[in-house]
Symmetry: D2
Subunit: 386 residues, 4 copies
């Protein structure tokens, strides 16, 4: 009798969950795999959107929850959150005894997953390595690549880069990004068939969306910790008098999160705008529909680089966070300057949609990932080939 392979996937943040949801489903449905879903860090916390609630609502069973976010408006807290994560995840892996561990992308806490699995001799799979962004996330991303035994990357660029980093080509697979799977589904039925105010609450004005609107999602950038409040202010003031509806999403946790959140709160106390609504979060599919029907996305979210390329949604990409990531024609890069941001938004608001691009895959990443997890040898030894 064949025993199912136990695949532990650690989700640490709302965006990571959205990104790999189709892969989780494919793992769950695969006859030879057993999904062990571990939810950790900000994915558990209300003030970062309680991804855990969506996960449960989507019907996933959670094998373990790991609370490890240490509060503090300083960089040491990020390090310590990782340290606590290692302590906890080691216990979790010791109990779940997974055959493979999957870690996603490049947030600082994902390093905890990578270290626990590596040191416990559990084969480690890294999803979405090989990309370049030019900040601390990039250090973490490539560092995890060097710990990982298998690499499921999202683009041809990334594929080549991981191999240049010395990984054995037989361990690297360009599956595309599973987030595109969802975008593909949305593209086939893109009607905005729900009322976002009613379904997701949030605060602020409820402007009429029927004549077009803009979506904003801006995260703090770790390396620029002390500037996060200044940066968010530039965007806030660019948006303040923009003249058409704005749907604003709160940021994730990060070393500078409080600067960003504080900036938004201060703005809201000061101005009673009639065209901005603030959401804490939204289910992935609904969010993509909202984007699809928007005039443009403003901010520094990776969704602009990935899903929006596939959907053909214009993006005003602010600052350094997505620096150097492969991108389609839909992206306009601007600095942290209110005027430039406002001008870019105006431009897109009055212009047609760009062509879609397949730079991040073709919509079957989840299926590919599950198949690979079921078939790849369970190995955790490797050495440089140069």
């Amino acid at each position: 009798m064949n025993k199912k392979r136990k695949i532990a996937v650690v989700i640490t943040a709302r965006p990571s969950y959205s990104r790999v949801k189709t892969a989780l489903q494919a793992i769950q449905e695969h006859p030879d795999l057993e999904l062990q879903l571990v939810v950790a860090s900000s994915a558990l916390l209300e003030r970062y959107g309680s991804a855990v609630n969506y996960i449960e609502k989507d019907g996933f069973q959670i094998a373990a929850k790991v609370f490890n976010v240490l509060e503090g408006e300083n960089l040491a807290a990020a390090a310590k959150t990782t340290g606590i994560g290692i302590l906890e995840l080691s216990t979790v892996f010791d109990n779940l005894k997974p055959d493979m561990v999957v870690t996603i992308a490049d947030r600082f806490e994902t390093m905890a997953t990578a270290i626990s699995a590596t040191y416990m001799n559990i084969p480690l799979v890294h999803i979405q390595g090989g990309e370049i962004t030019g900040n601390i996330d990039e250090k973490v991303r490539h560092s995890i690549t060097k710990l990982a035994d298998y690499h499921f990357v999202a683009s041809q660029d990334a594929y080549e880069r991981v191999i240049k980093l010395g990984e054995d080509p037989v361990t690297v697979f360009n599956t595309g990004c599973p987030s595109i799977d969802l975008a593909d589904k949305v593209k086939q039925n893109p009607v905005l068939d729900f009322d976002p105010y009613k379904k997701y609450g949030g605060v602020g004005a409820c402007p009429d969306l029927s004549k077009g609107y803009v979506v904003v999602m801006q995260h703090p950038v770790t390396n620029e910790y002390q500037d996060s409040r200044k940066h968010i202010n530039e965007t806030l003031y660019a948006i303040k008098d923009i003249g058409f509806p704005v749907l604003w999403f709160w940021p994730n946790v990060d070393a500078g999160a409080d600067g960003t959140s504080a900036g938004i709160r201060a703005f809201r106390e000061k101005y009673q705008t009639s065209h901005i609504h603030f959401f804490k979060n939204m289910e992935g599919e609904d969010f993509l529909k909202l984007l699809y029907n928007s005039k443009c996305l403003v901010g520094n979210s990776s969704v602009g680089i990935r899903e929006c390329a596939y959907l053909g949604v214009p993006v005003v990409n602010i600052g350094s966070r997505q620096n150097k990531r492969a991108r389609g024609e839909n992206v306009m890069d601007v600095g942290y300057e209110g005027e430039a941001i406002a001008a870019a938004v105006q431009h897109f608001f009055h212009k047609g949609r760009p062509e879609p691009s397949h730079v991040y895959g073709g919509g079957d990443a989840g299926i590919q990932i599950a198949r690979l997890l079921a078939q790849l040898p369970l190995r955790f030894h490797k050495t440089l080939n140069y």
Copy 2:
């Protein structure tokens, strides 16, 4: 007025200390540098040789001690030791506020230093990256390379490899290994001018060393955790009836440490040999003198690959621990097989010394390292150049 640059160096094990001692001295004596020596992990523990005592005896002031070794005969303990290390080192760095942090080599706990410094935006210097060994240490080593801002490597091979790993060549320096500095000093005055039994105690027989002797130092290999006792037994039984004096050194802490130590203890209880003496540890310089005057070194210590090459001491290198490391003519590789080990020792015992080799530098690594630390820009941003 110029303020001195504060350089935090974290020592986690006895061998690392020996290896970088001349660099520490050069930092301490450099007019523009202030050394902040942090002693952590097994370097603090009696059963791994209390490196801390030697450090203090050598006149270094210790800025902070970090106890983070979690007991347990399992792999999770290694992960957790790293997690606790991150928690503690973050606090230490928050208090010491170093301008740069130096981490050494590739033990699992060195990752804690690398993560704390990286996440706290402190420029990270990695000593002895770029080498290949084919086990978990290699994963850790290259993973640290991807976090580090500067790389002081020990050989031309390593230099080229770190650059292939995508590091900017202006951040990579082949300083040679500082351990060779000490070997150079010993080479100029190699007389065994102390009585090892008297000076270092230890247990077991005290055979006459005047007609030649063999030194043994064998560490557990993390990936082969459950085999560590079997491996050590092969060596013990190869040595048991060897017929000439043997000086045996206890291993460092590691996931399999207890297997190795238990094997040695069991052997000692069972056999009352008259030709083996066991040492817990020895000061670096004395140890090199002992090696220089020995017939050969047996085991899997990196000292065989590095210092012994420079000193021209034959080495019976057992198993996979030093796999693929650049080596001189002095090394004979054997598997974990008692007979092969015994034969190799016999061979070397009756043969002349090999030629020395400069593969790991020319004896001025410490000075070079201090100079670089004083001059390099304090930066912690980087991105892949391919």
Copy 3:
């Protein structure tokens, strides 16, 4: 030459700081004492009022900061925050090497201070033990009493109770509560000589305070974790249509903190009241002036039981948090019922001040505490005397 005694005082929350401020000043000014102020937990966090800023502004030097608050809307987070606190404080005490450690009151994190000091054989002084409140704080409080070597209590009741708990009477001292020292100072000059809106910002309406106002400060109650949102709602709706100005202060961190905060935020989004202003925090002296000039205090803060007794300010004390604490004539107890709360506030708003009471000391607690710390034997052995 006499060396000064090093006294480490660990502050974990804004109210504790206010409470012992005069003791800290007296320690700092005492010729035989050296104050080592450690600031930890929510005292460091912006969303709990950043007590650390006030501490620094008051001219105290901080010897160490300890970030240990683990985020999470569950009870395990409180336990883990304590665990991390022990890890960190042990390192801090190891570095500072205090002669005595002082822990204050009964918050769950204060247990971390008590355990670290006890296990490290440092004499432990507990301020404000012996009181009864009937919830988890009481368990923690008496548990710390059994670890502490000296007890500086705030009332005669508490004095007798600590001795009944088996503590040697020569180690128990009724110093009164140092918070009363500050209240005494305010009583001598009670004029509201600052504009609270200007000086402390905050959000909401800025009603005219000249014809009387009410102050609200309500904390979540740990044992009633899931009810904290319901409780705060009762108070919010009692206050909503009350007809005179209300100055509301945000709660401290606690297992239920998010429920309370979330309730307040939801209320603010829903209602645009013109008579409520929300403050994050206020310096102790200003806060006492504000209380002195108010019609009454509403909520469950201990300030109502202590300082308000001495100042003669009426208090509507809600729920179980101050249960069984010795109280003066100024307190009216009500349940978590909007109507009862509203009625009590109406009652006090139209009635004169009650008589002051000296149940918590006479205004010289800080001086007494410093004197005792300088003179008591440094001992950490004890045994039950029955």
Copy 4:
């Protein structure tokens, strides 16, 4: 349908396991209870006797293992071990969701169990509170009493003391000590029906036991950390020339453990005695048989005070560790002085057995404990009744 009550019992050391084994069996066999056995701290470690192996061999299923012993020859390590224990146990309790948690006695790590359960609102049962011993264990013991919701004490003395400490008499039960249950069983069949050398290995000489022998078990005393080596030396030299067989048991982990172990190791290296055998550990029943047939027990183990009283075995009780514990006629107290120890052993070796005493119960403690756990209300609120 009735759901079984889940009872989590946390075992942190070999002696605690022996002590409560009959209670664990009774819980396991009780139709309304489900045992959740958590094994932690030194109970998992080989060098402290691997209690975990005996637990598994006895047929208990282990619900979770918690590695939390931090290595280090200092007092901070004890504190940190407790901190890590809290972190880990909180996760364990979060997963197991026990209805009650049982903590045993007074070792420093038992505080971790008490704090995790208390802060998570899980009713806490304390076994063997209320005793007095005059050292840090006593502080910990009474401190746990103040956190515990129920108290199962071992003697009438302890019963009265816990009530004096302010606990509600309806929550205090004198069950006797479950260790006596086992002693009772042994007493009914006391023949030494196994060869201890063959069954338990160990090291050293194997003297003939047929004409009488002495058992030694001496633990370090936390408060006297730096003296532990000196203390053990006094006992070692008292025993060295004693002239009849000695069976010596290694100590548990403690802040001073390394001092004690180091002393024993040094002694063994120096002297080749022909009358001393060293055991790492022994199953509880066999150990009691060994004691029953011995001339006396030497050291500071609580087994001398409890089981030996019931069995009528003489005890040379050294130093302060059992200070003030209620004791029978079988105990002779001596200081840390080789001569006094030697004289006491000589005295007992040539004298008859003392009368047994029932001071620690009548042999049905395990059954009583299980019954109470099944019936007591699940409450975690309490308040002082004076």
